[in-house]
Every structure is written in structure tokens, then in C-alpha cells.
């Protein structure tokens, strides 16, 4: 594709210049000129009032027989012998894509003594499990998992590969995409099927969540994407379902794995696993001192929630960086996000504004957090927290 401005038609109004998300358009001598940061997204084509901008399809060389590639694969990520929530969510969503396309859904399960998880994968909707068991795969390693997964792709040719956008998923996905030479869309928040082409339409936020982009991978297979945890609901598990286990021999040897895992230090319990949390209670500078985080933890315990923190609280040393929500921390999308004593700087908002329901507690009623909150209480956080914790406890007991 190429975006072309007709010099005759362009009236130099500059609307496209402001509409371009990539700052690629400048006005030169009263005409719009497309610069090299253009990604051919077409935002300018849509806004041009005089239809001076067109996007032309450029025929790319087709070197790949796409018809050989079939079925939807989900990378099954495990931790301590269990499947991560994000893999379940992707199996649920993958099932929908597979049904729409009339193809099979497979889980790709790598590890040591993990075969027992197959029944959960089938229960979540898969038709097949590709099972690779080896000592070398007990712990995640970039080299080990990339090699085994890429070899599986080359041998069995899936059309779509879904990977959870966890730290390991985002370490693995690009390495595989680069080895295979295909497209990978990062950190998606929505998936669909493009009606015209039958390809997966990957939707993801960019510019700190200020815009959304829908991406296609037209000429390369498999189509790959990493998908943010907790954007899709977990499917209802049906243990009457069964499927076929395809056992594959591992293609990786110890000497192929260049990184060596020496130690794992758990900084927090599941209570601070923000990516997988359904409810998050976050604290900010409004708490005044580190000891007051106990109030947040008490509320979180009653609600079965994880504990997050604003950058201000992390910079002050009250909480470790793993707990930080926001642009330089984690992006979260729980069902409920409770912001306590957080004013709501834009850097924080981009990290949590995709939450289903936002509840804010802050003493300043003009705080920007209230502009995104579904429910807000104006009040002193130190006074509100103990009372609301008690009240939740009471009502939950009934």
C-alpha cells in the first residue's frame, strides 16, 4: 500500500496533519506531504474533506502458500505446574475464532511432566494438544522454548498462534516471529475475524492508550499475536470434552540453552500478581506513609484482590516496582480497580483505564482520577479505608 496526496485536489487545509497519529504529514508550500514515518494507516484518507488522499494497494510478492496453514494454536503458559489464567482465556477466545473459521483449536504444551494439564486444555475448548515433554523444558528459557515451538510451527503449519502477553510470552513471541519470518502484533486487547479476508484482525492500543490500531498480517503465516491477560473471560470448563494428544519429541538439548536460571526470588505472593488479578486495590501518595499500605492490604484481603501502587508510592520506596501500575509499570485490566489516594496522573490512567469498573477514593474532588471513575467517594482515605473494609466484610458475610 502507498498513501498518495493529489497535488491538484489538496487545498492545504491541514486537517490531515493533525489527524495523522504518527506525525508523518507536513504542509509544504500549502500542500500536504507524506513523510517517512507514515505507516499507511489511512487515518488521513478518512478525514480529508476533498478526497485528495488515496491509499493504493501495492501488490506484494506472494512467496508463501497460505492454504497449507490451518488451525489456531494457543501457547499454554504454566507456572508451578498449573496453567496460567491467560492461557485459559486464550483457549476460550481461540475456540470462538476456530468455530468462525471452521478450523481446529490446539493447545501447545511444553514442560516437564505436564501431560496431566491436557484434560484442562480440552475442557477449555481445545481439539488437540501438542505435548512436548523434556527435562530441558522444565523452566521457561528463550532458546529452549523458541526452538521447540518454531520447529512445531514449521512441521504442523498453524494459521494463527496466540500467546499471552506476559513477560515470558513477550520474550518468546518476537523470537519465534523473527525466526519464522512472520508478523506479530503485540499486546492485543481485542481479536476478530476480518470479514473481507477471513484473516485475524488484531486490535491493540498505541500511544499510551490514546489510540487503537487494528492490524492484519496479509501475506505471512502463521499470523501471530500476544494478547494481554484478563481482557477475555475464562471459558466455562467442560470436562466431558476430550481431544487428541499429539506427542512430539523435543528438539532442544541442554547446550542449546544459553541462559541459565540460577535462582527465583519471589517478591510477592499471588496477592500482587496484577496481570492476572480480577480485582486490584491500588494505593498512592495520599496514604501518607508506608505503614498505611496495611489498610490497602486489609481491603484487598477481604475482596480477594491484588495490591497495586502508583508511581509516587513506588518512587517513595513504599512498594516494589513489580507493584507499580502505569506507563513505566504494569498495564492492568481487572474487572474492578479501586484507586485509593491516587490523584490520577495521565501516566497512571493509561495503565488502568481499560479496567471494567473503576472506583476512586480521594479527598480532592477535582482530582483527575474522578474523570475516569465509575464510582467515586470524596473523603480522607485513612478514614474511608478501615470503614469500607469493615462494611464489605459485613455485607459479604450475609
Amino acid at each position: 500500500m502507498a498513501v498518495i496526496v493529489s497535488k491538484e485536489k489538496c487545498v492545504g487545509c491541514g486537517i490531515c496533519e493533525t489527524a495523522c497519529p504518527f506525525g508523518a504529514i507536513t504542509l509544504q508550500e500549502g500542500k500536504a506531504v507524506i513523510g517517512e514515518t507514515c505507516t499507511q494507516c489511512g487515518a488521513c484518507v478518512e478525514v480529508c474533506p476533498v478526497a485528495a488522499i488515496t491509499r493504493e494497494e501495492v501488490v506484494t510478492e506472494v512467496t508463501m502458500d497460505k492454504s497449507q496453514y490451518k488451525n489456531i494454536w494457543v501457547f499454554i503458559e504454566t507456572a508451578e505446574g498449573k496453567m496460567k489464567n491467560v492461557s485459559l482465556e486464550l483457549l476460550g477466545e481461540g475456540r470462538k475464532l476456530a468455530d468462525q473459521l471452521g478450523q481446529k483449536l490446539a493447545g501447545v504444551l511444553l514442560g516437564k511432566e505436564v501431560a496431566a494439564l491436557s484434560k484442562d486444555i480440552f475442557a477449555a475448548g481445545a481439539d488437540e494438544v501438542y505435548l512436548v515433554e523434556a527435562d530441558e523444558l522444565e523452566h521457561y528459557s528463550t532458546d529452549g522454548y523458541t526452538t521447540v515451538f518454531s520447529d512445531l510451527i514449521q512441521a504442523h503449519k498453524p494459521s494463527v498462534v496466540l500467546v499471552g502477553a506476559t513477560n515470558n510470552g513477550r520474550d518468546l513471541g518476537p523470537r519465534i516471529a523473527s525466526r519464522i519470518g512472520t508478523g506479530l502484533t503485540a499486546d492485543c486487547t481485542d481479536l476478530g475475524i476480518d470479514e473481507e479476508t477471513g484473516m485475524v484482525a488484531w486490535t491493540r492500543p498505541a500511544f499510551g492508550g490514546n489510540i487503537m490500531a487494528t492490524i492484519l498480517c496479509p501475506e505471512h503465516r502463521p499470523q501471530m499475536g500476544t494478547i494481554r491477560p484478563s481482557v477475555f473471560k475464562k471459558p466455562i470448563l467442560d470436562y466431558n470434552r476430550c481431544g487428541e494428544i499429539i506427542k512430539v519429541k523435543s528438539t532442544v538439548k541442554w547446550e542449546d540453552i544459553r541462559t541459565k536460571l540460577i535462582d527465583f526470588v519471589k517478591v510477592c505472593t499471588t496477592a500482587c500478581n496484577l496481570e492476572e488479578a480480577e480485582i486490584i486495590v491500588s494505593g498512592g501518595r495520599g496514604l501518607g506513609k508506608p505503614e498505611n499500605f496495611k489498610l490497602i492490604e486489609n481491603l484487598a484481603e477481604v475482596l480477594g484482590a491484588s495490591v497495586g501502587a502508583s508511581r509516587a508510592a513506588v518512587d517513595a520506596g513504599w512498594k516494589p516496582h513489580v507493584s507499580q501500575v502505569g506507563q513505566t509499570g504494569k498495564t492492568v485490566g481487572p474487572k474492578i480497580y479501586i484507586a485509593c489516594g491516587i490523584s490520577g496522573a495521565v501516566q497512571h490512567l493509561v495503565g488502568m483505564s481499560s479496567s471494567d469498573v473503576i472506583i476512586a477514593i480521594n479527598k480532592d474532588k477535582d482530582a483527575p482520577i474522578f474523570q475516569v471513575a465509575d464510582y467515586g467517594i470524596v473523603g480522607d482515605i485513612l478514614e474511608v479505608l478501615p470503614m469500607i473494609t469493615e462494611e464489605f466484610k459485613k455485607r459479604k458475610a450475609c
Partner: protein, 263 residues
């Protein structure tokens, strides 16, 4: 020790505003900055230089104006800077970008450590680093919060969801770093700024780095943007401010129960 730091000039996305009428991005007046995580990466490189002696090269693929970002890196203490810039790179996705960076790093020659920021704040993909490492056939460690080197053995702390892993890896390696206390970027000194002004920034074209024309720019990009849109804005909800905190809480919990949230 030869160190390369890959950096990107990005619009400061925290300054990006949405036009409330047209619901589109207002880019005018948004400053261009060095991607914040890349500054953490440069800091990690400069710490190795301070400790063990190293030559630190910063490299960026981008338009001519990205020289400003490279200059900022020189002021912080990088030794040399290379801008890889060519019209042919336009419209590159992460794979095409990684092809250019890998070709450029090959041209630099023997490199011991390549640093990247965890991700760029405009695209947020975190893909270019690992894709580059794969093209170069070297090991990678991502989400690194701290590191040290002894001879040719690198020990890093790699952040994961609920803690961190301690990983050992031999050189050469690509390391992508997060914002962490250990990598808080230093401020440029006056001397550094003066040196940056004197340092010539090399500009390499597609031909200079022997880039395969089928693997760069739009042609070399497997992914295509089909649509850009502004997400629906959240509308302000219900703000409760009853005479007493107790009443406010009761009102909130009633509303949550009504909406079947939590209760």
C-alpha cells in the same frame, strides 16, 4: 568491551491530548524525547563503561530529526552515535525495523552487549529487541532490573510477574532493561554536552548497512495497519459526597450491590 545501545526518538505520549470535538490525537506541540526505557538502557551501558571500561555506541533507526535524541545520549556519556536513516525504511513494522538494526550492528562489528529499553512508549510492542537478537543469533534476556559482568559471564535480575529470576548468560547477549532503581538515568554534565556538540553523528543509509531491500520498510513488514481509531472515552460516573464518610460508604456499597459489582 564493545556495547551498543539501541534507542528510539518518541513523542512524549504523556503530553499527547485528544481533541474533544473530533476525538483525534493532537500532536502539535508534543515534544520529542528519547524513549524513557532507552535512557535506562543507556544508563546500564554507562555503568559497565564506568566499572570496566567500554566503548558505548548508540544507534537509532529513524528520520533525520532523530539526531537530536542521539545527541542527548552523547551528552549522557555515549562515545559514538549512528543514525540509520533512509526513505526506504518508511512504514517499517517491528520485524522490518529489527532487520535494519541487525544489519547495522553487523556493520559495527564485534559487539559484546546490546542494550535496549524494555519497549518504546509510542508503540509499546517490546518486540524489536528480541527480533534483533534472533537475526544476530545471540542470546537475549528481557525485563532486566539489574546486572553485572565478570569476565564473559553476565548475571542479571530479570523481572517476572511475581518476583525476579537470577539468570546467567555468556557474552554476547542482548539485554532489554526496565525502569529500575539500579538504572536511574544520569543527568548530562556540561562537559558531556560540549562533547556531544563536537561529536559527529554518522548517518548510514540502507545501502551502507547492506540491508536486504525485501526485508526493510513497508515491503519487509508482514503486519499492516488496517485501521486507526480513538478508543471511546470513559465517561465520568457517580461521585458520592454525603455529609459523613459512613453515609458515603453505605451509598457506594448500595450502588455496587445494585449494579451487581462485588456484592
Amino acid at each position: 568491551m564493545e556495547i551498543v545501545v539501541c534507542i528510539k526518538q518518541v513523542p512524549d505520549t504523556t503530553e499527547v491530548k485528544i481533541d474533544p470535538v473530533t476525538n483525534t490525537l493532537i500532536r502539535q506541540g508534543v515534544p520529542s524525547i528519547v524513549n524513557p526505557f532507552d535512557k535506562n538502557a543507556l544508563e546500564a551501558a554507562l555503568q559497565l563503561k564506568d566499572k570496566y571500561g567500554a566503548k558505548v555506541t548508540v544507534i537509532s533507526m529513524g528520520p533525520p530529526q532523530a539526531k537530536a535524541a542521539l545527541k542527548d545520549c552523547l551528552s549522557m556519556g555515549a562515545d559514538t552515535a549512528i543514525l540509520v536513516s533512509d526513505r526506504a525504511f518508511g512504514g517499517a513494522d517491528t520485524l522490518a525495523t529489527s532487520n535494519v538494526l541487525a544489519a547495522s550492528i553487523k556493520k559495527i562489528g564485534k559487539v559484546d552487549v546490546i542494550f535496549c529499553g524494555k519497549q518504546a512508549i509510542d508503540g509499546d510492542t517490546a518486540q524489536v529487541g528480541p527480533e534483533t537478537a534472533e537475526h544476530l543469533g545471540i542470546a537475549q534476556v528481557t525485563y532486566v532490573a539489574n546486572m553485572d559482568i565478570k569476565d564473559d559471564l553476565v548475571t542479571v535480575e530479570r523481572e517476572c510477574e511475581d518476583g525476579y529470576e537470577v539468570i546467567e548468560v555468556k557474552l554476547p547477549v542482548l539485554v532489554s532493561v526496565i525502569k529500575s532503581a539500579a538504572f536511574e538515568p544520569r543527568f548530562p554534565t556540561v562537559k558531556g554536552k560540549m562533547k556531544a556538540n563536537r561529536t559527529e553523528i554518522a548517518v548510514w543509509s540502507a545501502a551502507d548497512v547492506n540491508a536486504d531491500e525485501k526485508k526493510i520498510g513497508l515491503v519487509g513488514s508482514p503486519t499492516k495497519v488496517s485501521k486507526i481509531f480513538t478508543p471511546p472515552r470513559r465517561v465520568q460516573g457517580i461521585i458520592i459526597e454525603e455529609p459523613t464518610v459512613k453515609e458515603s460508604i453505605a451509598a457506594l456499597l448500595d450502588k455496587l450491590a445494585e449494579a451487581k459489582i462485588i456484592l
